[in-house]
Assembly symmetry: C2
Homo-oligomer: 199 residues x 2
């Protein structure tokens, strides 16, 4: 088969990224090739720098440039409430709502025996350590609404019980802007069960 | 807004790639962050190497690692026929058919007054230079079936006329595997005009 060495190596590398197939990888490769040299440097440096600088916050395990992340060090955040998430990108999603002023705890995974992820593989011990001094009054479980996510939440809430702390979870229901017709029956059922008084 | 410096720089860089939106850029960034260091190096080196090594073939303007591309130097290729393409990726598409054994000429663009691309901006002069010694007997115009592509083909074929060389173009018609119902009327009309004897 006809190949150009450096090009196919580059396409191969792009193709390893999640959700990038052969055609897209080719398009990305040609795009990068046509960039001016300083732009290419900027791109590769952003990758190398991020990979070098980003680490897990010593307190909440969120991604951070520093020892402790900017949320954990922010004196204006409410230290009595912790929102438990499975991945750092969920922190960004929550911060975008502008409706939450507490702290986070990023598990960096979900318990999943199928995939060989046991409770010790995610940051549960670190979460329990944070609850010991009595500052935290509420823990919000905000794992994904999947079997693994639910199981992880259940497991953790049972561990929190002895601490005498309120454990809540996100409301399930119809997503805003969606058409009822397209809601699946499980979501609709949960929305019905969780119905609230309007007046 | 809440941001992590190195992370948002990285997301920003991914987002500049064609067809990559904010969500995908974020997913790619997290993926890259979770790669082992040597894999990250491999990725950035593939980009830098490709950008440094790849250049245009001195003869056909296709992308190549060397002075002259592997197709132009291949003694087994038929030197009497040149297929004219707009972009290097089209060469790869043609090579995949395994049905063409001639040479290529990559214009690296299409004439498009709207986008400020005039005939001097693409490799037309270089094509005409290749026709002067009389080796080439046929030129296949294989530009894109768009207004710009057609105009480019028309323009070039008029320039080739004095050389007394056969100029052909790709057949238009129904793509294989497609449903007639979904063919647009222009394609269908072209397919009708270009109908061929079956027996």
């Amino acid at each position: 088969m006809y190949t150009i060495n450096s090009l196919s190596l580059l396409v191969e590398q792009f193709q390893r990224l999640p959700g990038i197939g052969n055609k897209t990888a080719q398009r990305l490769a040609y795009y990068v090739l046509n960039l001016p040299e300083n732009e290419v440097k900027k791109f590769t440096n952003a990758i190398l720098d991020a990979h070098k600088n980003l680490r897990q916050c010593k307190i909440c395990s969120n991604l951070t440039d520093a020892e402790i992340c900017s949320i954990c060090t922010d004196p204006k955040r409410d230290k009595s409430i912790i929102c438990v998430l499975t991945a750092p990108k969920d922190v960004i999603a929550f911060e975008k709502t502008n409706q939450y002023n507490g702290l986070y705890h990023v598990l960096n995974g979900e318990i999943s025996p199928m995939n060989g992820v046991s409770p010790e593989d995610i940051k549960i011990k670190e979460l329990l350590d944070r609850l010991k001094d009595g500052t935290v009054k509420e823990v919000i479980m905000a794992t994904n609404p999947t079997i693994e996510g639910e199981a992880t939440s259940m497991y953790i809430s049972r561990l929190i019980k002895p601490y005498n702390i309120t454990v809540t979870r996100l409301a399930y229901g119809i997503p805003i802007g969606a058409d009822l017709e397209y809601a699946d029956e499980i979501t609709l059922g949960r929305a019905l069960n969780g119905r609230q008084n309007m007046i």
